[in-house]
């Protein structure tokens, strides 16, 4: 597993993250080194282990916690672009030919 080749550019695209070219080169070296370090955990014997008994899911009831619209203005005032009571976004499907 230590010989793993990491396609940093593909990872960056998966993470929707623009990475400067020169930084891509550094990361191509650094990330495999970091992965080689964290891989030491493969040596730990975890057979027969289950998730901690103390852990449980906490759910809130499936109903509106407050009156509709109570926070609309507060939240929209933080949005970069809005149209009325909605957040405006750029087109999702590009017209560019692939």
């Amino acid at each position: 597993m230590t010989d793993i080749v990491v396609d940093v550019a593909a990872l960056a695209s998966l993470a929707r993250l623009e990475v400067p070219k020169e930084e891509l080169e550094t990361l191509k070296r650094e990330i495999p080194t970091i992965l080689a370090f964290v891989e030491t955990i493969q040596k730990a014997d975890t057979s027969g282990l289950t998730e901690a008994d103390g852990l449980r899911n906490v759910m809130r009831s499936d109903e509106s916690a407050h009156e509709t619209g109570a926070y609309t203005e507060t939240l929209l005032s933080a949005a970069p672009t809005r149209k009325g009571d909605r957040i405006a976004v750029k087109q999702v499907i590009s017209r560019k030919k692939s």
């Binding site: 929707r16 930084e23 650094e30 992965l35 030491t40 906490v58």
Partner: protein, 472 residues
């Protein structure tokens, strides 16, 4: 007014006795900030006008005889804790101009007390780092030697307390981010039990590890603020029920993981640790060895789980709802450009590592395996606490290091070696100053870390008070 020896209890007494007003106390801190923070850069923003208003309100309350523990007490907040209407940037370009839409639960509690907010303190961007060098707005300097880092990620908060730029601070601790900078700045830093303090209104880094905690000059100060901010909060589903805290019997037995200490600690830092152990022995504590074999894997486990959760949490910063937004042709361009522009290099590195360890084909070998080893670490803690009241370790393997000294990411990650097991298990821990070491003619503080089982805050406060030098 001597800020150097001032404690919360001391300030409370003086305020109630009308020796000085909350406004005078606040002005004293604001003056000190004006004089010293140009060099130290502990603050990203000082709320001068608002702090004076807070102080005037506190004075009215004191005059009415309605003062509580923190009424009129000046406190600073790490820049990842939300105060409605004020900027909370997490020291990132992404949130440089973001104004919080609501108060964090801890902020609401401090407002109810009538505390005075001095400003927001510097940190590593999105609480990722160990030196405060990763702040997008420039590093904070260590008050003991300005050529050295204050530690991180709550380095602004710990430097502020160490240099008397605030009486106490709130920080957050994901892998040592309160304790390590507290050790490097010579102050007391508390990471409470996971769930003891609500995370509602804390900008998330790694949600299963993050915990808000307190920083002060004395154990009693860290405790006083903790007592105000703790408690169940229905807005944080991981917050513990108040019934969780029951008395834990105390036997004064301390465990030292000798095997784990061999991972590498500076000789003089270790010598200071041994000296503290000797002084505790003289005070009646028994010191025994404890075996915690899985701690050997803690750093590796942490640097899988942390980036995994960070990459997930930071997915919300996309230029659509709030924060930085870059123009582009279509929505995916907005995402990629905004994130590329808004996040700094360490944040980008963590997002990419997190994306990798969670990706199909690798998640079993990395993320799921790390979660299993995390259970081993929890188990080792639980077994150890069957026979000891607390586990003690140096907080940091080294004293404060020079700027730029740890440019290799793995070297920076190793600074957390003695603090990450605590977050992985969710147990409480405190760092208390205990001795000094010399580096290039500078005298640098060293921290002694005390770890108890879940809900064992009272245990670590009691032991912590036995570690700290009695106040004059």
């Amino acid at each position: 007014m001597d800020l150097t020896s001032l404690t919360i209890a001391g300030a409370r007494k003086a305020l109630d006795a009308k020796e000085y007003s909350a406004l005078e106390l606040t002005n004293e801190y604001l003056d000190t900030i004006r004089k010293k923070d140009g060099e130290l850069h502990a603050y990203l923003e000082v709320w001068e006008k608002e702090a004076r208003e807070d102080a005037k309100m506190a004075d009215l309350r004191i005059a009415r005889g309605e003062a509580r523990t923190l009424t009129g007490i000046p406190i600073a907040l790490k820049d990842n804790i939300l105060v409605e209407g004020r900027i909370a940037s997490a020291a990132s370009k992404m949130l440089e101009n973001y104004r919080a839409s609501y108060d964090a639960t801890v902020v609401r509690k401090l407002k109810d007390e009538g505390a005075v907010f001095l400003g927001r303190t510097n940190m590593d961007e999105f609480a990722l780092g160990a030196s405060t060098e990763h702040s997008a707005f420039g590093p904070t300097k260590n008050p003991h030697d300005t050529s050295r880092v204050p530690g991180g990620t709550s380095g602004g908060s710990t430097a502020a307390v160490a240099a008397n730029l605030s009486l106490a601070c709130l920080g957050s601790d994901t892998g040592g981010s309160i304790r390590q900078p507290s050790a490097l700045c010579g102050v007391v830093g508390l990471k409470p039990t996971y769930g003891a303090v609500s995370r509602y209104g804390l900008i998330a880094a790694a949600s299963s590890l993050d915990q808000i905690g307190t920083i002060g000059k004395r154990v009693a100060d860290a405790r006083a603020v903790f007592d105000v901010i703790r408690g169940h909060d229905e807005k944080d589903s991981t917050s513990l029920p108040d019934s969780f805290y029951k008395g834990i019997p105390k036997r004064n037995i301390l465990g030292v993981p000798r095997g784990f200490l061999k991972e590498g600690v500076d000789a003089d830092v270790l010598a200071e640790f041994e000296k503290t152990l000797d002084s505790l022995k003289e005070k009646g504590y028994s010191i025994v060895d404890v075996e915690v074999p899985s701690f050997h894997y803690a750093l590796a486990v942490y640097y899988i789980i942390n980036p995994a959760e960070v990459s997930t949490n930071l997915a919300r910063f996309d230029g659509i709802r709030y924060g930085l937004s870059m123009q582009a042709e279509d929505i995916s361009g907005v995402y990629a450009k905004t994130r590329g522009e808004g996040f700094g290099p360490e944040v980008r590195r963590r997002i990419l590592i997190g994306t990798f360890v969670l990706s199909s084909g690798y998640a079993d070998a990395y993320y799921r395996k790390a979660r299993a080893v995390r259970e081993l670490i929890r188990g080792d803690f639980a077994r150890a606490f069957d026979s000891v009241d607390a586990i003690v370790l140096p907080t940091s393997p080294t004293p404060a290091f020079k700027f730029g000294e740890k440019s290799d990411p793995l070297a920076m990650y190793a600074a957390d070696i003695f603090t990450v097991p605590v977050n992985l298990a969710g147990v409480p821990a405190i760092s208390v100053p205990s001795g000094n070491v010399k580096r290039d003619g500078a005298t640098l503080p060293v921290g002694f870390q005390i770890i108890a089982s879940h809900g064992g805050e009272n245990t670590i406060f009691a032991i912590g008070e036995d570690v700290e030098i009695p106040s004059a």
